[in-house]
Assembly symmetry: C2
């Protein structure tokens, strides 16, 4: 089933129905996204006026296009959509992104009727529709931005597929991800899920999309929750799936109906379903992104025993507190490891876990030796590595980045909370982030929470594998 | 008592004892901070070689300087500190920043002895010492960066005074604050608190420092916790004090002893003390900064009834969930307000609280009218305003920024979660942030948590006022 999404997400040609030169039209912004996002396939603007659109010859209708169309992005008014879908079917279009809103998400019964109509048309031609009422999708791997937001092309390539029921949340995640250097394989807005729902997309991402390593879901409410849960269950043990569920309270539940036409449903039932399905639930948007980044970058820990290596004692204490309440444990170093640490640090600092690396701070080699001693420690399954760089530490920051370039994949997860003035950051910190088993996050607490989730996902995968 | 800190934090002249031209010396970086931070007073580098340091004539010792020295920043080895302090006393220096480490924070008993010695010398001359074992301080209001990290001069001016027991945490907060546009009146590292402790600094910030509107504390453990609590109690109802306490667990507690020479102590006792003292405790570094920003930017809400205005339904649901668990309530609009909203929004979107402003998204005036209707609503005490801008919304983003320029102070707190591609961000979002009662935070959840803390601080101030 999921193979029918192949050409939707990786099309060799795209028609934009409603393409426009007017800044206030969504058809303008879809064209901008495709062109400025450097989409490599053929683009066919469709516009009744037949004028030049974004420098390209346009066509009055889909019928007038010669050659194959894999994907049609539709931004015409709702009333015109049925006709356009018929043309898509006749033209053997392989997939549709239906950005147009005004279907079952509106209060007026006409919306429900119209959505039923387009669904029937889609069924007739076996045409998968992403949407309606979606912003579209971005596939950084394939270098296509099929959305109305051209800046989403700034997303880095990576292994995270985010599937969102809300365009607003997808945008928020996209912008946060760009700032925090989270690499995406897909950013998908499901909208009203006319005939492409979570279950099918999950199947596609797990079974057919090699670029995707982690799946992050933003859910509100579903018409067929069981279908999604069953799909996730059948995929359990393959790729990690994490989810953030909105509509937990009474008020936001009823808000959901207006938004995407589905009640959010009883939250307790959802929690049970996630557990059954092997989906790790997280409790904030930031936690969803942080966890996805760490899952994409780090190997799973062999156990919950974590070492804290900090350049300064304060962040070490904060991380230790977070570990004690996160389901992880501070590791006990073996005697051999402790000897190595003691030979590198004078007895003026905390040398057991958490380790205050402060006194070695001006000797990059000692810091690296400390790191390796703890990495090799048999009692340690993962490392929280923390450094708040001052300008005096620029050499050290660069030495650590060089080390990461040099070494092989670490084998244990290292979540690093590195903070620095912007000029140091750019060179030294991006050189470490998402490489060889390292992932950089902004605070000690968020680093520990993400490490805890990495461990929980390992338990889920082990139980389901 | 606290008046003796006046010239320490606002000195007309500064001597740097241990000033250096060598990049690997802290005395180099302190000079860089003062000079590149555009400190306007006189700078006297002190260096035994008497060479030109950072382009300035240097002096072999403090005794060789003619004229008054308000502040001495000391970065010489620990063993030389007693002699330098005697010179400070004789020279009538008004305050000292003692960056040098190697005192009671080290395991060796010599450190304790040496710290006792310098404390006695300081008492003899009534000389306040910030430190030892501190990174220094930054006073953006007075434009002095008396720390070894020149990039801390990038801190924006504002009303937040952060007093930290850890230099690492102070650096982390400083770097995060620069990215998130939090304005500081002071960033102070207390280090070992030889003779200047939280209590005295609190007194100074509340009673003498007009620039400070909010005080944020990072605490590990104190020798004289009662003193701090009593000081806060006596200041209750003046300026809000919020605190993050590390060393909650067993492990991090014992780590604290190594760090600043004090046990962190039983966390439950601390919680009670904070409550008594009217200090709002927060549970993460980010929450400390977010709450400080909102307290600095927004008026207190008259009650816990919050309206959620969102450009997209998803973020509105997330915020509603957060409100239901934060001690706040979703407000009920009066009939008049609901009529105004209904006249601006078609019945296709959620028009009760949370309000989905989506359908009005292409009409800036309608969005502003919606905002004003809810701002004037008698049943609403504060607003969470959310917009995830796509490039198509650049005009709207700018219109909203223009509106904020035009209007008077709002009278009710508005915490705004605005996210956007960087090019929109720079103009439109910074034009709103920290103006007229608006504060911008990065996610719906963090916006709501900070609003909840704003309300809790209001309750504390009312009870103590």
């Amino acid at each position: 089933m999921s193979e029918r999404l192949e050409k939707l997400f990786c099309p060799d040609s795209v028609a934009v129905v409603g393409a426009s030169n007017g800044f206030d039209k969504l058809g303008y912004h879809v064209m901008k996204s495709l062109i400025q996002g450097k989409y490599g396939g053929e683009i066919f603007p469709v516009n009744p006026k037949g004028e030049i659109v974004w420098g390209l010859h346009s066509y009055p209708s889909l019928r007038d296009i010669r050659g194959t169309i894999d994907l049609a992005v539709i931004v015409v008014p709702a009333s015109l959509v049925p006709q356009v879908l018929h043309e898509c079917g006749q033209k053997m279009v392989k997939g549709v992104v239906l950005i147009t809103a005004g279907f079952r998400e509106i209060e007026d019964q006409k919306g429900v009727v119209l959505e039923r109509e387009i669904r029937n048309i889609a069924d007739q031609y076996a045409l998968p529709i992403l949407g309606p009422n979606t912003f579209g999708f971005v596939n950084p791997t394939f270098e296509i931005n099929a959305s109305f937001t051209s800046e989403l092309s700034l997303l880095e390539k990576g292994g995270v597929a985010l599937v969102s029921q809300s365009g607003g949340i997808a945008h928020l995640c996209g912008f946060l991800a760009t700032e925090q250097r989270i690499g995406f394989s897909k950013l998908i807005g499901l909208g009203n899920r006319c005939n492409v729902d979570f279950a099918e997309v999950l199947g596609y991402l797990v079974e057919r999309d090699k670029a995707t390593k982690v799946i992050a879901l933003y859910l509100e409410g579903l018409d067929r929750p069981r279908e999604m849960v069953e799909a996730a269950k059948s995929l359990r043990g393959t790729k990690p799936i994490i989810a953030y569920k909105a509509g937990k309270g009474e008020k936001s539940d009823s808000a959901s109906r207006f938004h995407t036409g589905s009640l959010a449903g009883n939250y307790r039932i959802w929690r049970g379903a996630f557990r059954q399905a092997g989906i790790l639930e997280v409790s904030s948007i930031e936690e969803l992104l942080d966890t996805a980044k760490v899952l994409d970058s780090c190997p799973p820990p062999g156990g919950p025993r974590i070492a804290v290596l900090s350049s300064q004692a304060g962040p070490g204490m904060v991380a230790s507190d977070a570990i004690e309440k996160s389901g992880l444990k501070l590791s006990h170093f073996t005697a051999r490891t402790q000897d190595r640490i003691n030979s590198l640090l004078p007895p003026i600092a905390m040398r057991t876990n958490p380790v205050d690396m402060g006194p070695a701070w001006y000797s990059p080699q000692d810091i690296l030796d400390l790191f390796e001693a703890v990495l090799e420690d048999e009692g340690t399954d993962g490392i929280i590595f923390m450094a708040m760089y001052a300008s005096a530490n620029e050499n050290l920051a660069n030495e650590i980045a060089q080390y990461v370039k040099r070494v092989d994949f670490l084998g244990k997860p290292v979540v690093a909370c590195l903070s620095a003035p912007r000029e140091i950051w750019n060179d030294a910190i991006t050189g470490i982030d998402k490489r060889k088993g390292f992932a950089v996050l902004p605070t000690p607490e968020r680093s520990v929470v993400a490490m805890g989730n990495l461990w929980r996902v390992k338990l889920i995968v082990d139980n389901g594998g």
